[in-house]
């Protein structure tokens, strides 16, 4: 069995034993369905607070789904960063990583197994959340074509994976786990703001993917610059992974 697969299975087993495989998908599911549910009850909530319900326009199904996606970008991202901040740093700190790296294991397999573990878990979580949103939107409002559901999800998930990779990279580089989460989220926030402010010059920005995903739901098309952003985000992820492997190796062999 290849070392990568062995380490990947260890990651999977670990996140099963510490319940990450249960709680993270369930929280994303709640994030996903909270928006259709509150929208459904909105007329009653408004009525009981004395506002005429027909003053507030009822959003369309695709609008509801687009808003759900943005939940993953805020609370979802916070949860992912907090869950993965110690993925490398904590093992290095406790010394358990020595037990792996003293065997004939390359830093590349070690880091790629970590990244794959994060990726599979993240995709499962947003996937479950999106399915929940879709299901609720369909039974409470008009139905949405499934093609829009999964394409928008993939585009949005790529943004989350990009931030995950930053968290992994920082985890190879830094000691303080709090700092790792803080900087990861900071990068996400700064990128989002810069992309909005410098709309014309930041067409390549990974944070464009969030807008593109909403566009897919609202208009069926991600917009002209989407593929540029997708290609560059994938390139960034690859570069960050290479950086993580180098950082991990340096951290061990130089100090």
């Amino acid at each position: 069995m290849s070392t990568w697969l062995l380490l990947f299975r260890k990651e999977m087993l670990e996140s099963t034993r510490n319940y990450k495989w249960i709680w993270i998908p369930l929280v994303f599911l709640l994030l996903g369905i909270s928006n259709p549910v509150t929208t459904y009850f909105m007329p009653q909530i408004l009525e009981s607070s004395g506002v005429a319900a027909d003053l507030v326009p009822v959003p369309t199904s695709v609008e509801i789904m687009a808003k759900s996606l943005s939940q993953y970008g805020t609370l979802g991202l916070l949860i992912l960063a907090l869950s993965f901040m110690g993925i490398v740093a904590a093992e290095r700190q406790s010394g358990s990583a020595i037990m792996v790296l003293v065997k004939p294991v390359s830093h590349r397999s070690y880091i790629l197994a970590k990244w794959s573990g994060m990726t599979v878990l993240t995709l499962a979580a947003v996937g479950l959340g999106q399915l929940g949103t879709w299901y609720y939107t369909n039974i409470l409002f008009e139905s949405v074509p499934f093609r829009l559901v999964w394409t928008s999800l993939l585009v949005y998930a790529l943004w989350l994976l990009f931030i995950n990779t930053i968290t992994l990279f920082l985890s190879c580089l830094m000691k303080s786990v709090g700092g790792i989460a803080f900087i990861s989220l900071g990068v996400a926030a700064v990128l989002a703001i810069l992309t909005q402010v410098l709309d014309h010059t930041m067409k390549w920005s990974p944070s464009r993917l969030t807008g593109a995903a909403s566009q897919i739901l609202l208009s069926g098309q991600g917009g002209g610059d989407m593929w540029l952003a997708i290609a560059l985000t994938i390139a960034f992820i690859a570069a960050l992974l290479a950086g993580s492997v180098t950082a991990s190796r340096r951290m061990w062999t130089k100090s």
């Binding site: 070392t3 380490l7 670990e14 034993r17 003293v102 061990w252």
Partner: protein, 301 residues
């Protein structure tokens, strides 16, 4: 035959050299103790030999090993081993066996065999988080030898253990000594004297003394006399320095330690003086300097 040859091994952290130009060899089938006070560079040396740390300069050569990754031929136990506490002892050993490229089936049988050998058979299915310090150390030993390494490197394997745990680990080491070459570090001389064939004493990044333990003891085992005197006249005590048979003189806490050229001559001469001077001798001991004396001397030099 040499198993490992090290030449000019150096590790610098910034301007400071933790290990400075170490050259030595380990012979196949021997057990070598790496001695030295804290901060001597023992851990840094062992980490470089294990492939965990990159030397700033120098060479580490495994004789007769064509493998690209020296970690395949080395078993390593860190000073403070830390495990994946959510695994059971059995799971952990099987995991490390597979990491060392042992096929799954063999990994399972090898893990079982070793768990029994290190006395963890009954605890095999329990979570490591519930293990005691001694149990963890024994599990650490098991993972170090799981792939039958050519060289077993242990960093202070017994220093953190209570007397019973220490005994258990020492017994295991004696057994493993028969199967593989061992290099272990310690700051406790007694451990080195108990199981090692060779010793290497390090201080501040340098080798101070190195060689066959028995040979070193013979070479450095100088005749020695210790005297405890109740009513010692300071002038007489200091005057002992100048006796022709005294090579080295030390006086501390009322105890006189003399290294002498000839035990018999020294004894006769001293006994005569005791009587003539009417000294109250509380203790008189003749013997040889020990490894401890050598160690203390080497480290202080």
């Amino acid at each position: 035959m040499n198993l490992l040859e090290v030449g000019g091994l150096t590790k610098r952290f910034g301007a400071n050299a933790a290990v400075d130009g170490l050259s030595f060899a380990i012979s196949q089938g021997r057990c070598m103790a790496l001695l030295g006070p804290n901060g001597a560079g023992k851990t840094t040396t062992l980490k470089m030999l294990s492939g965990l740390l990159e030397p700033s300069s120098g060479t580490i050569r495994f004789i007769g090993e064509a493998r690209a990754d020296i970690r395949e031929s080395i078993g390593y136990l860190p000073q403070y081993p830390s495990f994946f506490n959510w695994m059971s002892g059995k799971e952990f050993l099987e995991f490390t066996a597979k990491l060392a490229r042992i096929p799954a089936k063999e990994a399972a049988s090898r893990a079982k065999e070793l768990l029994e050998r290190v006395g963890l058979k009954d605890a095999a299915k329990r979570k490591i988080s519930g293990y005691s310090g001694g149990m963890k150390q024994r599990l650490g030993l098991a993972q170090a030898v799981i792939h039958r390494p050519k060289l077993l490197i242990l960093d202070e394997p017994v220093s953190a253990l209570d007397p019973q745990g220490r005994r258990e680990v020492m017994e295991l080491l004696k057994e493993m000594k028969r199967e593989t070459t061992i290099l272990f570090s310690t700051h406790i001389l007694h451990d080195a004297e108990e199981i090692s064939d060779d010793v290497m004493i390090m201080d501040r990044g340098h080798i101070v003394v190195e060689g066959d333990l028995q040979q070193l003891m013979r070479d450095h085992g100088k005749p020695q006399i210790r005297i405890k005197v109740g009513n010692a006249d300071p002038a007489w005590v200091q005057g002992l320095r100048d006796r022709p048979f005294v090579r080295e003189f030390e006086f501390a806490l009322g105890l006189i330690t003399l290294q002498v050229t000839n035990l018999h001559e020294a004894r006769e001469s001293l006994f005569r003086e005791f009587v003539d001077q009417g000294l109250e001798i509380e203790g008189f001991e003749m013997g040889q300097t020990t490894l401890e004396d050598l160690f203390m001397k080497a480290v202080q030099a």
